[in-house]
């Protein structure tokens, strides 16, 4: 496989192609599908063709990206599939893209989930199909761009641009409170990122005002402690909102609940990972001295633990199934943040595995909730009960995905949470112990929900005639289950590919903070 990929020079064109293919899909949709008729809200030919084009494009995108799994050289440090082309010479910005062991899996997660998201909207989105699928494709380019950009301006452009399609997806095809949810989503995210924009400009200024390149900036950046603290704050706000870390999480339940199924899959599966990715790629390497200050680190770890427990407790009392899943995301992302800031080899790798695992299992949960909603038009847990006998396939998949989300050994969720807890116990034992209770809470709220939805006596007569999963739904859930189990049983190949980049990151951060420490000590001795 590897030789074949090398022969076709896979590594020199794959990333631009991944960015380009969805846009070709957009062009094809607008070229080959007629707009909806004015009377409009029924299925029409142009719309279903747009749907097919989008799904085929996204599947092709996934197949193309799969080669990265084999072509990726796990022993090599530095960027792979690296492209550096001129873009805006007058603004010192270049089109620099590349991946390492951290972003590789984010890209693969995106390309894996996007066709599923598009399929998930197959029947739930019934109006304006052409625009809907075009937006999903644009979103794909934007999200992949965020994960591969190695130039600050380019990163910022991708970071902002993916907001727009998501905003329209929630606002046009969302639930009853979609306008409120979409606006909140937009303003929260933009509010955080605009301060990051100022921070990016200050950094650009302080490294000599001649480059936005990630590598050069990291190498050259030398800031006063006060400056670093402020700039770290700006980056922290942008990423903490996106993660979301308590208390910046309030946009999440609204956006996730109101979004159509595909939108929720993308939000939970990919977009939440961008915040965590931002910490790993930008906030930590740029400001190691601040991020490793005991106070700062303590606060963030504290917020992470609060997120874990708070998310779990709030999820426990939700009467709405989709909201329950949304709040469980806050809890899971708390684990990710704990893993990142505990900064040991296991905990960071664990955080990365949770990012993948949560992306897959929560997407599965959202899909299943969406399937149930399409059949009954309610998400109230109370209106279900005992449907396991009516829809056995649905029940089986819901159980597997929920168990993965809880972190049952043998599923992907276990690997990540175990690594985070083991890793963070070495640096923050107390936080690790409280966080471990989050796993128990997760078992409580998910198993309780399972019981009330699937197993209690069948109380609602209307549920007696639910239809079980169809082939499209089976296919989606089958693929998701496969990944959950594979990752749970054999995480080795994934962990191996992450190892080099993680080790490099940790070493860089520790060296940076040790250097800052020395300098501080020297200054103190110099002052009598």
């Amino acid at each position: 496989m590897r030789e074949l990929l090398a022969q076709i020079h896979y590594d020199s064109w794959i990333l631009p192609i991944l960015l380009l293919v969805p846009l070709i899909g957009v062009a094809a949709i607008f070229a080959f599908c007629r707009a909806a008729p004015a009377s409009g809200d029924v299925e029409y030919r142009g719309g279903s063709r747009a749907r097919w084009i989008a799904v085929v494009t996204l599947m092709a995108e996934f197949v193309l990206s799969l080669g990265m799994w084999w072509a990726f050289d796990e022993a090599r440090t530095g960027w792979q599939f690296y492209i550096d082309a001129p873009w805006l010479p007058d603004l010192h910005s270049r089109f620099t893209i590349g991946v390492d062991g951290i972003s590789l899996f984010m890209v693969l997660l995106t390309t894996f989930l996007m066709p599923i998201a598009a399929l998930g909207d197959w029947t739930s989105v019934r109006t304006k199909l052409r625009t809907h699928y075009a937006l999903l494709l644009v979103l794909t380019t934007g999200m992949i761009g965020v994960f591969v950009a190695l130039d600050f301006l380019l990163f910022y452009v991708f970071w902002e641009i993916m907001l727009v399609p998501m905003y329209f997806v929630i606002g046009i095809w969302g639930g009853t409170r979609r306008i409120y949810a979409s606006e909140k989503f937009f303003i929260y995210t933009m509010g955080g990122s605009l301060l990051m924009l100022v921070a990016i400009l200050v950094i650009w200024q302080s490294v000599g005002a001649d480059t936005f390149s990630y590598d050069q900036t990291v190498a050259r950046l030398a800031l006063s402690p006060v400056q670093s603290l402020w700039l770290f704050g700006a980056f922290f706000l942008a990423f903490a909102i996106k993660v979301p870390l308590f208390p910046f999480h309030t946009w999440l339940p609204d956006a996730h609940v109101e979004a159509p199924t595909g939108g929720s899959v993308i939000l939970a599966g990919v977009m939440l990972k961008m915040g965590a990715y931002g910490f790993l790629r930008f906030a930590l390497p740029l400001f190691p001295s601040v991020a490793m200050l005991p106070v700062v680190r303590g606060i963030i770890i504290g917020l992470a633990v609060v997120s874990i427990v708070y998310g779990a407790l709030v999820a426990m009392v939700q009467p709405d199934l989709k909201k329950l899943v949304a709040y469980s995301s806050i809890s899971h992302l708390g684990f990710v943040m704990l893993g990142i800031f505990a900064l040991t080899m296991q905990s960071v790798q664990g955080a990365l595995v949770i990012m993948i695992s949560h992306g897959v299992s929560t997407s599965g949960l959202f899909l299943l909730v969406g399937m149930l909603y399409e059949r009954t038009h309610t998400r109230e847990i109370a209106s279900y009960g005992g449907i396991a006998r009516v829809v056995p396939m649905f029940a089986a998949f819901l159980t597997i995905t929920a168990l993965a989300s809880i972190g049952l050994p043998g599923t992907s969720g276990f690997v990540g949470e175990f690594l985070v807890l083991v890793g963070s116990y070495r640096t923050y034992p107390f936080a690790a112990i409280i966080a471990a209770s989050g796993v128990i809470f997760a078992a409580v709220y998910l198993l309780w929900a399972l019981q009330r939805v699937l197993f209690n006596p069948l109380s609602n007569e209307e549920n007696r005639h639910l239809s079980d999963l169809n082939r499209r739904e089976l296919g989606m859930m089958g693929v998701i289950t496969l990944v959950i189990i594979l990752l749970g049983v054999a995480p080795g190949p994934v962990l191996r590919r992450m190892e080099t980049a993680t080790a490099q990151l940790i070493e860089h951060v520790e060296r940076g903070s040790a250097f800052a420490e020395q300098q501080r000590a020297r200054e103190q001795t110099e002052q009598p």
């Binding site: 707009a35 004015a38 409009g40 805006l88 010479p89 007058d90 603004l91 910022y156 452009v157 902002e160 641009i161 727009v164 905003y167 329209f168 606002g171 046009i172 979609r178 306008i179 979409s182 606006e183 937009f186 303003i187 933009m190 509010g191 605009l194 301060l195 924009l197 100022v198 400009l201 200050v202 650009w204 200024q205 005002a209």
Partner: protein
């Protein structure tokens, strides 16, 4: 080519674009009244006026590219003038195109509206080239008087008449402030030439005299009115709402650009040595303008009023560029004005389009569900809103405009970090009302029995389409515009970076009164 401005022939070449506009306006005025007043004749005059503006734009481009220079005199011959003139002329041409369709609709059949637009543009160009306070005043009045009439050109509309009267009264008031300020500055510096004033102010006795300080304060008030900065903005929403839409676009884009450019030239060329004096006052005006403009815009349900408050907010952002006091700031300002012109005129173009089918085309509720009937125009409006918001790619150039202003603010010798932070925070606020327009158009259903929206007439459609295309193309690849903005940053032959005066500068050898005997030195 080097021009000697004392030489009449050379002076004529230096003001070639203005001459083209003035002569063209006179000729069209005669042609317009040379027969019965019909719509067809008015339209033909309108098309001819676009030709005249294009010719002036050509003259600007020619003089810019041929690298003409001059000595210090009444008019400036430098990149800043050409760059800003190009922006204003583009804004004027777009306005003229919009008014071709709109005048027919509201029944303005006389050709004088086109002539007045040309004259106002001529005034703006004079203002942009002014290197003398007297020229600044002449240009400002020339421009304003024509625009007062344009605001009231719809004679049958009471709101239009109200707008014109309100604008005229407050405008006359502000002109008086400006003129009095000029007189006092002349009293202190003994010259009205910007470059000469700049040199005289090196003497702290002149710069510290109360005559001069009061003069600068009055000057700031006068400019504050023209650029609609808070607290001198009260006229803006009423006038923008009442004036016929194309002329609202003209005021929001071209007039603001011209007034701002003149403001920049006066502060950076004549007053760099009084940097602390105007910096403190303008700092607060900028902050107030950003905050008040954005906050009040949140409450608007009338699209024209919303855009009026948005234009006030943008005046605040532009002031941040001005406050940097650097060439980079001036370049950022030109770039910003360029992007802002397309976004604003485009947005008003959509209002014009709706005006053909709906009586209250400025009422936001008329836009509900517009996407389901006019998807293209709605998408264009979304681009304009995102451009005004400063969003990358989808908002096109708007992002780089804000980026540039922020960059200039942080790069200045005295970095304006606080202003930059206030700018981005108020931008977040502005998202709420720009998104409101998008929400209404895209997320709300089209109400039952809503009027059918006709497609935009050809000229209006051209304006909308061209604005979107330019915003988006330059949003992906802004380098050409960046280069033009850079080329338009040098003001005259002097460096504009303010040398912050240190307090140790000896204050000897100065008349204690600080007043120097006046001497006439219009041209050297």
């Amino acid at each position: 080519m080097h021009l000697d401005l004392a030489h009449p022939g050379h002076l004529t070449i230096a003001v070639l674009p203005e001459v083209i506009l003035a002569v063209g306006a006179m000729a069209l005025l005669l042609i317009g009244v040379w027969g019965p007043e019909t719509e067809e004749r008015a339209r033909r005059v309108g098309i001819a006026s676009i030709g005249v503006s294009l010719a002036a734009l050509g003259a600007v481009a020619w003089m810019w590219s041929s690298g003409v220079t001059s000595n210090v005199g009444l008019v400036a011959v430098d990149g800043f003038r050409w760059g800003t003139s190009a922006v204003v002329l583009v804004g004027a041409i777009l306005t003229q195109l919009l008014s071709l369709d709109d005048n027919e609709r509201i029944g303005v059949r006389g050709s004088e509206s086109y002539v007045l637009t040309l004259l106002a543009t001529c005034g703006m160009l004079i203002l942009l080239g002014a290197r003398d306070l007297i020229m600044v005043f002449i240009g400002m009045e020339f421009m304003s008087i024509a625009v007062y009439i344009l605001a009231g050109i719809d004679r049958r509309s009471a709101r239009s008449a109200e707008a014109a009267l309100k604008y005229f009264l407050l405008g006359a008031f502000s002109s008086a402030f400006l003129l009095y300020g000029i007189a006092l500055i002349y009293g202190a510096a003994a010259s009205t030439n910007l470059a000469v004033i700049g040199d005289r102010l090196a003497d702290p006795a002149v710069a510290g005299s109360s005559l001069f300080i009061v003069g600068v304060a009055l000057l700031l008030v006068g400019f504050g009115f023209k650029v609609a900065a808070v607290p001198f903005h009260m006229w803006t929403p009423d006038v923008y709402e009442g004036a016929p839409t194309p002329y609202t676009a003209f005021m929001a884009a071209a007039l603001k650009a011209a007034a701002f450019a003149a403001f920049v030239r006066v502060t950076l060329e004549a007053l760099p040595n009084a940097y602390e004096l105007w910096h403190g006052a303008l700092w607060w005006i900028a902050v107030l303008t950003m905050v008040v403009g954005n906050v009040i815009a949140l409450a608007q349900n009338n699209l024209k009023r919303l855009l009026a408050y948005s234009s006030i907010a943008h005046a605040g952002y532009l002031m941040v560029a001005l406050l940097t006091g650097t060439e980079a700031g001036a370049a950022a300002l030109v770039f910003y004005l360029f992007a802002y012109t397309f976004a604003t005129v485009g947005a008003f173009g959509i209002v014009c389009m709706l005006g053909h089918s709906v009586t209250n085309s400025d009422n936001l509720s008329e836009y509900a569900g517009l996407w389901s009937v006019r998807p293209g125009s709605s998408a264009a409006m979304a681009v304009f809103m995102l451009a005004l918001l400063g969003f990358p790619l989808a908002g096109g150039m708007g992002f780089f405009a804000k980026w540039y202003v922020l960059q200039a603010a942080l790069q200045a010798p005295s970095p304006q970090t606080r202003l930059a932070i206030i700018l981005v925070m108020t931008s977040v606020l502005s998202a709420a009302y720009y998104l409101k327009v998008i929400i209404v158009m895209f997320f709300r259903p089209r109400p039952e029995g809503a009027p059918v929206i006709a497609p935009a007439p050809s000229a209006t459609r051209f304006v909308i389409g061209a604005s979107v295309a330019i915003l988006l193309i330059l949003g992906v690849y802004p380098s050409p515009a960046v280069r033009l903005a850079r080329a338009s940053s040098p003001l005259g032959d002097r460096t504009v970076v303010p040398e912050l005066r240190s307090p140790e500068v000896p204050t000897a050898a100065a008349d204690s009164s600080g007043v120097v005997m006046p001497e006439v030195s219009l041209a050297q």
